[in-house]
């Protein structure tokens, strides 16, 4: 018989205890670099059934809008190879209910909140930032600009550097905490959009939001999603996310990045840090494994320890530097490289 085991907090790896996991995003220190992803953890309550969310770097809440919102018709999701499409349509209770019910829940438990906001006009975003301003528990704003701009024929803000910059400039003025712009990969040049929002005042960047996809139901021969298109997420998009982060970090190494897109393991998270992210969000992986964020954190700490690093911070962006320029002190280079490639 194989072992049957209750999955709880993953077992601590002693070596991992020597690793300093803290990370700093635009001046705000977090206990570690693993967060939930917006829209994949609601506001933390449900995950608390499985593990203590205060063990994470923080909880990124589902993008909230000014008013209650019903979202789109069902079916809202389709599983695809190593990923899924969703077209939730930002269903949510609206900012007032969120501030009354959800944010206090996080604040009371000492869980750092990254509040994600979404609007239909640049003005919406400013109003949202103003409403959230100064609330207990709030540590950072993540501005979801992958929303259609109703004032510009539904063109998505994130696909238009000028519109994206306008949103960020307004939010920046209204916010007392760091402002991270969440970018869409569905653009010809993500570096252009990144530069525009950073110039407009973004303290940092979240990358990536989902990439647009379609699935056709092979029985009905109609799109699987009621909304036809949906956002692709999960391990399938990991190389795209890493590419975006790589490009933007190469162009603007000083801008902090919260990375996401297909992270399912500690080694995945390590890839994101090495590509230039200072912290990561775990999204779709939660649906397959409700313990995923905590497991990713523990696996990441072990992976860092076994590679001879004493902190998470020192690997941020390390993949941009040649190998011989950066062997950490006391390391066992080259990490887990199979002995086979070294022998005789």
């Amino acid at each position: 018989m194989t072992d049957v085991a209750l999955v709880a907090a993953p077992g601590h790896d002693d070596a991992a205890l020597g690793v300093d996991p803290t990370t700093v995003l635009a001046g705000v220190a977090y206990a570690n670099p693993v967060f939930t992803a917006s829209g994949c953890a609601a506001a933390g309550q449900e995950l608390a059934q499985f593990f203590d969310p205060s063990l994470l770097g923080g909880v990124v809440t589902k993008s909230i809008m000014l008013k209650p919102r019903s979202g789109r018709a069902t079916p809202r999701m389709a599983e695809t190879p190593s990923g899924m499409l969703n077209s939730i349509g930002l269903q949510g209770p609206g900012i007032d209910a969120f501030l009354e019910r959800d944010l206090p829940w996080l604040a009371e438990r000492g869980i750092p909140a990254v509040v994600s906001i979404a609007g239909e006009t640049a003005e919406d975003y400013v109003k949202l930032a103003t409403k959230v301003r100064g609330r207990k528990g709030l540590t950072m704003l993540e501005v979801n600009i992958s929303c259609p701009n109703v004032e510009s024929r539904g063109q998505v803000f994130a696909c238009d550097p000028a519109a994206a910059a306008a949103v960020i400039a307004g939010v920046r003025r209204a916010s007392s905490v760091p402002v991270f712009a969440k970018l869409s990969p569905d653009v010809t040049s993500i570096v252009d959009v990144a530069q525009a929002v950073v110039e407009a005042g973004a303290h940092g960047l979240s990358m990536i939001n989902t990439t647009l996809g379609v699935d056709i139901n092979t029985d009905t021969l109609r799109p699987t999603l009621a909304n036809v298109t949906g956002g692709l997420s999960g391990p399938a998009v990991r190389p795209i996310a890493l590419r975006c982060i790589w490009q933007v970090h190469a162009a603007m190494p000083e801008v902090p990045i919260l990375g996401m897109g297909g992270i399912r393991s500690g080694l995945d998270a390590l890839q994101f840090l090495a590509a230039g992210a200072s912290a990561v969000s775990v999204g779709t992986a939660v649906f397959g494994d409700p313990h995923a964020p905590l497991r990713v954190l523990e696996e990441l700490r072990s992976a860092l320890a076994h590679r001879g690093f004493s902190s998470a911070a020192e690997v941020v962006g390390i993949a941009h530097r040649p190998v011989d320029a950066r062997v950490p002190e006391g390391a066992d280079p080259p990490g887990d490289l199979p002995a086979e490639t070294l022998e005789t």
Partner: protein, 283 residues
Amino acid sequence: MSPVQVQGEVLSIRRVGDYHAMTVVAPGIADGARPGHFIAVGIGGPDSAMVLRRAFALVEAQDRGVYGGTVEFVFAVRGRGTAWLAERRPHDPLDVVGPLGRPFQLPKNPVHAVVVGGGYGAAPLLALAEQLRSRGCRVDAVLGASTGERLFGALEAKRMTTAMAITTDDGSVGEQGRVTDVLPEMIERGADLVYACGPMPMLQAVAELAAAYGIPAQVAVEETMACGIGVCMTCVLPVRGTDGVTRMVRSCVEGPVFHADQVRFDAIGTVPADALGAPVVTA
């Protein structure tokens, strides 16, 4: 009661008509599990291209015994995930999360109930019928399916009910027809309430009948789910609250069992114009 995630182990798998019945050693899940709860099963292991769990109603959950806690469920092979599941063999590992959702509500008094199951929808009704009986209720049952091979639990149901009717679309077992053809007769025997689980059109028809007879009904719905734990918002359907307001509610945490008269069956698959936050103008 809080759900747990368990690295379980397949104890047995057997064919039941067109279905597969699987028992999994998964200690901890049975604690607090009640009829109507469901479990979510991981598919294919860490290198699988299938990243989402599959939801199944609990047929039975035992919190102790030789194997220290087991869960049983029955499933139809529909797509790749259930095909993979059908290939599992005893001793194979299986990752199970549960119990999930809101179970059926039991009456406080020893009333007369009818349970109505379509296909594998009978799965959660067997344990329900047993609990109703142990509370002194009279339980009648109507089970239906397209064919006899897709009837589930008829023998067990027969044992624990006072009256039972079976319908199949092709007439291979029981009467030819649909559960709603025989349900009026069952209700007329003096039923106080109806419990139903099965395909959405069946639930809608049952809800309409119960309403026509002026008795309450509880229905367990089946909506496509990505997370099963309330964090993704994929599994919603329009439900009218006690305040009269229709909301798109998550069937994984606020369901799968709902009061039939609150479900907006006419509007399933849409966002009704009068729903809170509707209409959807943008992303």
